[in-house]
């Protein structure tokens, strides 16, 4: 393995404040009851900033501000003008992308290479894409004059903090809704910088409101009677609770939840490319990816060869400082998530699967987990059924395409799947039968603002991205 000199990205582009308020009605305000929590850097456990915790009264203020902006400003505004604000935001994100990327890596722990080259370009592209829809909604296939829903409550996870914000806010605003968004409690910083960008874009007050906090804040927001639409990305467990809580209301609901994707490798696949895809599928973003290829299904006759290549490739992965431009795998986002990954991995060993990790030095401070694979996994093992949401791959084998389909679909989830084969007709045959919202063939973990994303079964409902992504924010 090559020795690399450290190549850290400078932190100086980020101007962190010691504390942040809530962003309500265009201004940063203190929470009514004065509660706060700390956001830390998961790679060093250093406190980054003190963050306001929104209580029920703050949520009330935010929803009221969003309602007023919807009634008076954003709802009546011509789509052409809404578009211009969104284009402005897209441009500001591009201009400040380096600052946002560094802040994202600091707060989340993901490698700067990913926040710089994946998250931020997609965030800007998402706003740019939906900006263009704002004055063309009558051509989107939802009737000649589709109407917005009203005030949207949006709750997002910590794995792609700013990208998930973009997936939520861009289509909502393009369609004419106003929003109250709650970022995850471990990764609120880029959302608060986004609030500054809204100010810089002179977005009318109240169109975007950001309330920070944990589960209680989120619950107060989605259960608020003044909310017309709820959009949530996160765990299936919380998604279920939200679906119950909106029962009997007229709130429109979209959910993007967990996954346990099968990444299926046939014996005719180009092995080196497939191994790159397997690595990207499970170790991208430390495996904190709802659509991660966390179950490798490899055809039995090539299993040994694939595993040998995979192990060799895994030994090249550089785990460490997220701000180092050479880093492949960054820090686990939180102590709680690290605990969950450990617990499930221990269950994997206890249930009889064989665990392997490359020799890998982990930093002393912060939250770290070495890239790990389990072989000899059966469908009954917890590590083959439950979402680990970490850099842990479960390897199973199959003999026939029909068996691969059977095993791939044997899960309550249905978010994504991967197929690796040289045979075109087999790709299409498999793609038809896999019960998953996104199927990557001879590639994995590709995203684009024009491409609808979302799950089957218990991975949720509704689609984000593309023309489909407008549907959740229009009264159709």
């Amino acid at each position: 393995m090559f020795e690399y000199a450290p190549a850290p990205e400078s932190r100086s582009v980020v101007d962190l404040k010691p504390s942040y308020g809530l962003f309500i009605d265009g201004k940063f305000v203190d929470p009514t009851d004065g509660g706060s929590f700390k956001s830390i850097n998961p790679a060093s456990e250093e406190v980054l900033a003190e963050i306001a915790e929104a209580g029920a009264e703050d949520v009330e203020r935010a929803v009221r501000a969003a309602r007023k902006a919807y009634d008076k400003v954003w709802g009546p505004m011509p789509g052409r003008d809404r578009a211009k604000y969104l284009f402005r935001i897209a441009r500001l994100i591009q201009e400040r992308s380096r600052e946002l990327a560094v802040l994202e890596s600091l707060d989340n722990g993901k490698p700067i290479r990913e926040s710089r080259d994946v998250d931020l370009p997609l965030v800007a592209a998402h706003f740019f894409y939906y900006a263009g829809w704002a004055d063309k909604l009558g051509h989107a296939g939802f009737g000649s004059n589709p109407q917005p829903i009203g005030v949207a409550a949006q709750v997002i996870p910590w794995n792609f903090p700013l990208l998930m914000l973009a997936w939520k806010i861009a289509p909502a605003l393009a369609a004419g809704n106003t929003v109250v968004l709650k970022p995850a409690e471990t990764t609120p910083l880029t959302a608060l910088l986004f609030a500054e960008i809204c100010q810089q874009a002179e977005l009318p007050a109240g169109v975007v409101n950001i309330v920070t906090g944990a589960g209680d804040t989120g619950r107060a927001l989605v259960e608020h009677p003044g909310v017309d639409k709820v959009a949530f990305t996160g765990s299936t467990e919380v998604g279920r609770a939200i679906a119950r809580s909106v029962a009997g209301t007229r709130k429109k609901l979209t959910l993007e939840l967990g996954g346990k994707a099968a990444n299926i490798v046939f014996d005719d696949a180009p092995i080196d490319q497939a191994v790159e895809g397997i690595v990207n599928g499970i170790f991208f973003n430390q495996g904190h990816v709802c659509c991660a290829g966390s179950r490798l299904l490899v055809q039995e006759n090539v299993a040994d060869r694939v595993l040998e290549s995979l192990k060799r490739r895994m030994a090249q992965l550089r785990v460490g400082d997220p701000l180092d431009k050479n880093t492949d795998v960054g820090a686990i986002n939180s102590a709680a998530q690290l605990e969950r990954i450990r617990e499930l991995s221990d269950a994997g060993s206890a249930e009889g699967a064989e665990r392997w990790s490359p020799p890998c030095e982990l930093p002393d401070r912060g939250f770290w987990f070495a890239p790990t694979i389990f072989t000899g996994v059966t469908q009954a093992h917890r590590i083959a059924r439950e979402e680990i949401f970490g850099p842990v791959l479960s390897v199973l084998t199959f003999r026939t395409p029909a068996e691969a389909v059977e095993k791939a679909n044997n899960t309550p989830y249905g978010l994504s799947a991967g197929i690796w084969t040289d045979k075109g007709s087999r790709i299409l045959w498999m793609a038809d039968r896999l019960r998953a919202g996104v199927v990557w063939a001879n590639t994995f973990n590709k995203f684009d603002p024009t491409s609808p994303f979302g799950g089957y079964k218990e991975s949720g409902y509704g689609r984000e991205g593309g023309r489909h992504g407008l549907e959740g924010y229009l009264n159709v």
């Binding site: 592209a125 296939g141 009737g143 299936t236 998604g239 279920r240 679906a243 119950r244 909106v246 029962a247 009997g248 007229r250 959910l255 939840l257 309550p412 249905g414 790709i427 793609a431 998953a436 919202g437 996104v438 199927v439 990557w440 063939a441 001879n442 590639t443 590709k446 684009d448 024009t450 491409s451 609808p452 994303f453 979302g454 089957y456 079964k457 218990e458 949720g460 409902y461 689609r463 593309g466 489909h468 549907e471 159709v476």
Partner: protein, 274 residues
């Protein structure tokens, strides 16, 4: 010569293409007939039949599904007088036939209208297409007994879903007679299953059934029952169709929502290269 004594019809359930009585042996008197009072077990049996039919029906070509639905419209037209004799206005039967025909035509068009290629920023072929969600539980509207029923069944099955329908408890004869239409329309057994009886008995079983993918609450007028069913449906995150009562204008253009709510969008990526 004495007058001929009529042969009366026994109104039974429609499950898996067959006409069984309720396993509970119960019936109730409605519209001057004894109609099967479906039990929770009947509801579960109907889900099993519906699930078994998914593979064939969802896997049939869109053209084939369209033809079969059109055939159902032909059969319905042929039995027009039979429905009129049940008290259904002739206009309503005509509207129901027209609705079948309208939906039949969507079978091989919806994927083009609702899906398509996505211009992603990279060297990839990328396409989104709708697929059926699977087994759909439908609480049919109380009335209009025929047009309302057709308007909730056709949009669910035309795209490849199979259904378990809780028919109007107060006017179930149209539903059982429609089952006879479907049974003679080349529709595979199990694609449409019809339960007669009490909504309060069958609907909660269907809403909480873990092998049901979606539920249409159109016929649930009691708000607290609707909430209860939605809470049950959340357990496996069923897709829930719950149109606002104002949307129940059965003569209006139905739009696409009834179909699209019961669909999944699948997006497939593949690299381009030489």
């Amino acid at each position: 010569m004495s007058e001929r004594v009529a042969v009366r019809k026994t109104y039974k359930l429609f499950i898996g293409g067959k006409f069984p009585r309720s396993e509970s042996g119960r019936s109730y008197l409605v519209q001057s007939s004894n109609v099967s009072l479906a039990s929770r077990k009947d509801a579960r049996d109907a889900v099993v039949a519906a699930r078994a039919a998914v593979k064939g029906w969802a896997g049939a070509t869109a053209y084939n599904r369209g033809q079969i639905l059109y055939r159902a419209a032909e059969m319905l037209e042929g039995r027009r007088e039979q429905f009129v004799a049940l008290g259904i206005p002739g206009d309503e039967v005509d509207a129901a036939v027209d609705r079948w025909v309208w939906y039949a035509g969507w079978a091989d068009k919806l994927a083009q209208v609702y899906g398509g290629a996505n211009p992603v920023a990279g060297p990839y072929f990328n396409i989104s297409a709708p697929e059926p969600t699977g087994v759909v539980a439908v609480v049919a509207p109380e009335r209009p007994a025929l047009l309302g029923l057709v308007s909730v069944i056709a949009p669910a099955i035309v795209t490849g879903n199979t259904v378990v329908v809780a028919a109007s408890p107060s006017e179930p004869l149209a539903a059982v007679t429609l089952a006879e239409v479907l049974a003679t329309s080349d529709l595979p057994g199990g694609v449409v299953n019809i339960l007669t009886g009490a909504i309060t008995e069958t609907a909660p079983t269907l809403a909480s059934h873990m092998d049901v993918n979606a539920i249409d609450l159109t016929g649930v007028t009691d708000a607290s029952l609707a909430s209860e069913l939605e809470v049950k449906a959340a357990e496996n995150l069923k897709r829930v169709l719950r149109p606002a009562p104002a949307d129940h204008d059965w003569s209006a253009d139905p739009g696409l929502t009834r179909m699209t709510t019961l669909l999944e969008t699948k997006t497939v990526w593949h690299p381009k290269g030489v």
